[in-house]
């Protein structure tokens, strides 16, 4: 049994008035390309960055990121 990390970063970022990828990137201290990679599932961030992203959205980290069990 393996695991894959999915996230709701794009959905939460676009909630309400919305936040640009650049603004979120600056808030958590990564590049915009890293936010793009996280949103598209090409990169799973460190715990520190995941917690910072969750804090920006005012949500617990498990609402933003989820470990999905896979069959392999």
């Amino acid at each position: 049994m393996g695991g894959a990390i999915t996230n709701r970063v794009r959905e939460l970022r676009q909630r309400g008035e919305g936040m640009t990828q650049q603004k979120l990137a600056e808030a958590v201290g990564v590049s915009r390309q890293t936010i793009i990679a996280i949103e598209s599932g090409r990169y799973s961030p460190s715990l520190e960055v995941a917690l910072k992203i969750a804090r920006e959205f005012g949500e617990p980290v498990e609402v933003v990121f989820e470990l999905v069990t896979t069959a392999d």
Binding site: G29, V30, S31, Q33, T34, R42, P45, S46
Partner: protein, 148 residues
Amino acid sequence: MSSMSFQEKSAWGTLVSLLVIGALYFSSVWNLWRAEQLHMAAMFGLSVGFTILLTVVLVGYHLIVAAISGGQDEDERDRLIGWRAGNSSGIVLGVAVISIVLMIIAGGMVDDPFWQQPVVIANALMLAVLLSMIVELALTIWFHRKGI
């Protein structure tokens, strides 16, 4: 191009420059070898010349990229990509160097003078370094594009 980070643009420019200048260098070495003019002094001149050319091209390229899109500090993803790509290129370099050493030893055992020549050994080492750098840069681009 605008979706690329500075690190990815840097990797593309360095890879293309290395491939072009590396090909020019080794074609010059091959031509000198065929003309039986490849001795250490000529090779030293060639390698210094191409190293200076590569440095000038890379400095110019990075200055232009930084001026157009701005420099960018590495973040954790860039560092992870750099570490994984560097790890793989280190393995390539290690295997290549061990292979060259084994060829020298084997050449000595069967009295084959080819692998005893300093210019052959030096160029084989240059090729090993070039290959490992190409692997590192190609993997850097791959990880940036496809994820890590």
